[in-house]
């Protein structure tokens, strides 16, 4: 099947609920291991609007010696539409995440969102495979909630440096997913090994669609396997952003849609795109 044919059936449907600027209250901002922090914010109105795969553009608190001028986009890790909270999982890497790491319970967090077009499940997809690495797990976790609610069976293949970085496997397991883990420290996460794992899932009829996020090499692998076996799916893409609303055109990525390659905005036209639409970077 040709890529543009797959793309035509994969285009995510527009979500009608507009994002807004909300002032949330930090409930938890704690280290879950050496590398990741877990942020829980009370923001009931925002929480009610979130669709899986959407993100917020967060205003970072000031750092003592470094400017954090722009907001930082962060995908939602756990949705609680009726519980009033929004959860994020992040890796402290740059100025923005260092600033977010300073938030303490009781602090106010200015959050713009929810933003973007999230995941949507084609009714023909009854069994899906989620392949994620590192903090990309956080972006895909709400998909598990969506799949469970839609009666779709999930196999989650989670990849990380070490067992300690696989903390979100319970999120997938709780949503009824079968969880397979691969890690660098066990020597099980190389592309050929993951490819064999995926081929087994395809043969077992458990891969109606592929979902991924965060890793260029895993995206390429899924695109190659998808093309060979006629399997579509979706990918959540990351890019530096400014406004998050679609005004500034900072966050474009090359997307192949309807036979042409165009720079589309990750914030407004994505962040979720058809698996075969996204050109690897």
């Amino acid at each position: 099947m040709r890529a543009d044919t797959l793309a035509a059936v994969e285009a995510p449907t527009p979500l009608p609920v507009p994002g807004d600027e909300y002032l949330g209250t930090v409930l938890v901002n704690a280290a879950v291991n050496a590398r990741y922090k877990h942020l829980v914010v009370s923001a009931p109105e925002a929480a009610r609007k979130i669709r899986p795969g959407q993100f917020f553009n967060l205003l970072c608190p000031p750092l003592p010696d470094e400017a954090v001028f722009l907001r930082r986009p962060m995908s939602v890790y756990q949705m609680h539409p009726n519980g009033g909270t929004v959860e994020f999982l992040y890796h402290v890497t740059g100025a923005g995440t260092r600033a977010l790491a300073l938030l303490a319970p009781g602090d106010t967090l200015d959050m713009l969102g929810p933003l973007g077009l999230g995941f949507s499940l084609d009714p023909a997809w009854r069994r899906i495979v989620v392949l994620a690495r590192g903090v990309g797990l956080a972006t895909l976790a709400p998909l598990a909630q969506l799949a469970q609610a839609s009666g779709v069976a999930i196999t989650a293949v989670l990849s990380a440096r070490s067992k300690l970085d696989l903390m979100s496997q319970s999120v997938f397991a709780d949503a009824g997913a079968e969880v397979l883990t691969v890690t660098d420290e066990e020597g099980t996460s190389a592309v050929p090994q993951v490819e064999r794992l995926l081929l087994d899932l395809i043969r077992a009829g458990r891969a109606d669609a592929f979902f991924t996020c965060g890793s260029n090499r895993l995206l390429k692998l899924l695109q190659t396997l998808g093309r060979a076996h006629g399997i579509g799916g979706q990918v959540a893409i990351e890019q530096q952003m400014a406004c998050g609303l679609g005004m500034c055109f900072c966050c474009v990525r090359q997307i192949e849609r309807n036979g042409t390659v165009a720079n589309l905005r990750v914030c407004r036209d994505g962040p979720v795109f058809g698996l075969h639409e996204a050109l690897s970077w």
Binding site: P18, G19, D20, E21, L59, A67, V68, F69, L70, R71, A95, L112, Q239, Q240, M241, A242, C243, L245, G246, M247, C248, F249, C250, C251, V252, R253, A262, N263, R268
Partner: protein, 311 residues
């Protein structure tokens, strides 16, 4: 009740707050009541399709940001069919920003966008992200005169020339635009600038250089507005680093008749509406009945009146 109304030539605005080109689009209507703004200024439209610059297109700097978007555009046909009709449902005048690769194409664009629903044409001769080395027409007075005068003979619509800060003389291009028949000047576009990534020791922007905006540029652009206000008689629209109502007061006092807000909207989508409310509150507190009373108050020509009031 403070009168926030201002005039830019023949155009009456309900308040002096409008977006800067490239920092505003139909998407903002999802978050903000567009009827609260003084005018709408579109992202620059070009004759044909443009894909824009390679990424990264944005970098953070102290109190500001760099951009190198490169004017992606769906072209004039799409713009006239989709964008202009969108704004018909809103109250404020629509200002269309145009860009082109040659003086001839600028002139053609003037004619194409002179249609009902468009209130004025902003001439983007100052984008630092489309020509080699950050060059732009507005860097030279002669080139500015050439483009504006060619557009002038092709349209009766008000023409606003958007000037660049990347020039030796802030006022020469303003005078040239006025002499060529511009109805106003917009002062100014972004400042040509760059940042280096410390991991790779390469430029942070895909194109190497880009345009600096945000609070970091406000004192520079404010100075340009003050100088241009003493050099031309046509109205000036100030644009650079405005984050709040008191920034607007400074620009008006420096000689601007209206202002454009850009980068602030990227951080706070409702910034323009908050600034309109803040400006009214600031005037009310000081018993200033009309916002036009603030225009030019910091100019040397206003010094005798200022001394008289203080006496």
């Amino acid at each position: 009740m403070v009168d926030l109304g201002v005039r830019i030539g023949s155009l009456a605005l309900r308040n002096p707050i409008m977006p800067g080109s490239g920092t505003f689009s139909e998407e903002l209507a999802r978050v903000v009541d567009l009827n609260r703004l003084g005018a709408y200024v579109t992202k620059s439209v070009t004759p044909g399709f443009r894909d824009g610059n390679p990424t990264p297109r944005v970098a953070e700097t102290p109190s500001g940001m760099l951009n190198s978007i490169g004017l992606p555009s769906k072209g004039i046909d799409h713009f006239l069919a989709k964008t202009v009709p969108f704004y018909a449902r809103y109250a404020a005048p629509l200002v269309v920003s145009v860009s082109a690769d040659s003086p001839e194409d600028f002139a053609m664009m003037a004619e194409r966008v002179s249609v009902p629903g468009v209130a004025a044409i902003e001439i983007n001769i100052s984008c630092p992200n489309i020509e080699e080395g950050g060059h732009a027409v507005a860097m030279e007075a002669d080139a500015t005169y050439d483009v504006v005068s060619r557009m002038r003979v092709r349209t009766d619509w008000p023409l606003w020339a958007k000037l660049t800060p990347n020039t030796g003389s802030a006022t020469a291009s303003a005078r040239a635009a006025e002499a060529a028949g511009a109805d106003a000047v917009v002062v100014a576009n972004t400042i040509l600038a760059m940042a280096i990534d410390l991991e790779t020791l390469a430029p942070k922007l895909g194109t190497g250089t880009g345009g600096l905006s945000g609070p970091a540029v406000k004192p520079v652009i404010l100075r340009m507005v003050w100088q241009c206000a003493q050099a031309v008689r046509i109205p000036i629209i100030g644009s650079g680093g405005i984050m709040n109502a008191t920034d607007v007061v400074e620009y008006l006092a420096a000689g601007a008749s209206a202002v454009q807000v850009g980068t602030a909207t990227f951080l706070y989508p409702k910034a323009m509406v908050r600034i309109v409310d803040g400006l009214a509150a600031w005037c009310t507190e000081r018993k200033i009945a009309r916002v036009t009373d603030l225009i030019g108050r910091a100019l040397p020509s206003a010094a005798p009146a200022r001394r008289a009031r203080e006496a």
